[in-house]
């Protein structure tokens, strides 16, 4: 494999007999922020689940710094430094905000930039609400907890699955304001979004997916609105 930090080649995935991914090629360089956009059902979430070991990969390979990780189980993938902000946030309802954050550090070995203190600086509201049950928070605050929880493992790669889903535009803006701070400590970020606007603002590079295939790749500035539109809706040129 070539020298990309995180690289996927020819990735396929199935739900029973149903093929959800058809040979995905994708890469992420160190410190890069990449957005993956696509409509509902395009296969973005399946891609995330395959990458994090929740869905079994059919064929193809995934490598982190040249080391194959596609056969690993979800906890081992986290240990390799890939943390996830899952779709729908999925906070643990019987844990408080602070416990939700701490559980993110469950498997952490060494130190890093992120700990309770630095996360409370990033999202001050969470400090205020730290003793509340995670699920008692507003959607935006819950999303902050989910991001913080993933950061607590001090990952090298952060995967964000639909972090703007179901949130008001003003809240989405607040959440995305954290991305440059995360980037600043050298973390590579893969953002999966239906919301094209925010994703394009923070991304160094963009992929577009439709019907389980990559339909477009490029730098946000180089891509025309029409090209993105066609790729997003799976219109074949």
């Amino acid at each position: 494999m070539s020298g990309h930090f995180l690289e996927m080649r020819g990735l396929t995935a199935f739900y029973g007999d149903f093929e959800a991914l058809f040979g995905i090629d994708l890469h992420l360089d160190a410190g890069e922020t990449v957005a993956m956009i696509g409509a509902n059902g395009a296969g973005k979430s399946t891609l995330m689940r395959a990458l994090t070991g929740i869905v079994k990969i059919g064929s193809g390979e995934v490598a982190l710094e040249g080391e194959r990780i596609d056969h690993l189980d979800a906890p081992d993938i986290l240990l390799k430094g890939i943390a996830t902000v899952p779709e729908g946030r999925r906070l643990f309802p019987s844990l408080t905000v602070e416990e939700n954050l701490l559980i993110g550090a469950h498997a952490r070995k060494g130190d890093g930039p992120w700990n309770l203190q630095s996360l409370y600086e990033l999202f001050p509201i969470l400090h205020e609400r730290r003793r509340s049950p995670g699920t008692a928070l507003s959607g935006g605050q819950q999303q902050m907890v989910a991001i913080g929880r993933a950061l607590m493992s001090n990952p090298r790669v952060l995967l964000c699955d639909e972090i703007s889903l179901g949130l008001a535009p003003v809240v989405i803006k607040d959440i995305y304001a954290a991305v440059p701070r995360i980037k600043a400590v050298g973390t590579s970020i893969l953002v999966v979004e239906q919301d094209i606007g925010q994703a394009l603002k923070v991304a160094d590079r963009v992929y577009c997916m439709a019907e389980g295939r990559i339909t477009l790749e490029g730098r946000p500035d180089d891509l025309s609105r029409d090209a993105i539109h066609d790729a997003y809706f799976g219109v074949h040129a």
């Binding site: 994090t52 070991g53 929740i54 189980d73 979800a74 906890p75 986290l78 240990l79 943390a83 996830t84 899952p86 999925r90 643990f92 309802p93 019987s94 844990l95 416990e99 701490l102 559980i103 993110g104 469950h106 498997a107 952490r108 929880r149 493992s153």
Partner: protein
Amino acid sequence: MITLDTIMQGILLGGLYALFAAGLSLVFGIMRLVNLAHGDLIVLAAYLILVIASVLGLHPFLAVLVAAPVMFAVGWLLQTHVLNRVLGDDLLPPLLVTFGLSVVIQNALLEGFSANSQKLAAGTVETQSLQIGSLMVGVMPLLTLATAAIVIFALNRLFYTTALGRAFRATSDDAVTARLMGIRPNRIFAIATGLALVVASIAAVYLGMRANFDPSIGPARLLYAFEAVIIGGLGSLWGTLAGGIVIGLAQTMGAAVNPEWQILTGHIAFVLVLLIRPRGLFPRAND
């Protein structure tokens, strides 16, 4: 007839039932698994304590310190190699596997120890009693209830103040997301079942010191334990203690009227509580 003494006896008996039930409650709370072999595992632990006590010449209270780690290992292995394979959306496989296990343990004990009754010799403590007000209270029943309270307090501390407890709760909430946090649910479940069998060993030492036991008595202990868990509310440990006391009280009161009615009144109390409060006395909010 029913006197203050009867009520005291009932509450103290509840301590024993809470000990039977705590392991069941723990395992159910974490992995929604109902272990139909729980009663037989308690009896198995009692025989293990009996063997350790007689071979090493130890008092049962010391023998249980040797038995508990062994039972932890039994629980760990059982969960890792058998129960983890059958956990899932389908309720049938875990039920049938634990039911099979119950039959296997009972008959293996019968084969190894015969149907003869056994007892753990506790020495003078068996007959000692304390004067509390106008009541004479046996030291052994008092110790049982105190132990039950301590065990449940300790399990609660573990659940709500430790990293392991946090992982228990997170896995119970959402095992898939827990895996994304680096938690291995199968390992968490193995620890939980191991712990449940440590509690079962503690229950076993009191079971064996207070009365005779033989290989066939497991299923009845499972029923009392189950009744305590349900009455208390699924997944609530203090509720389980309360549930144990309800069953203990009902049985003792029934027995005071007619000794043949002891078990029957316990069962009937269970049915009544459930008809009035289907989710038990202290249901957990998010179940």
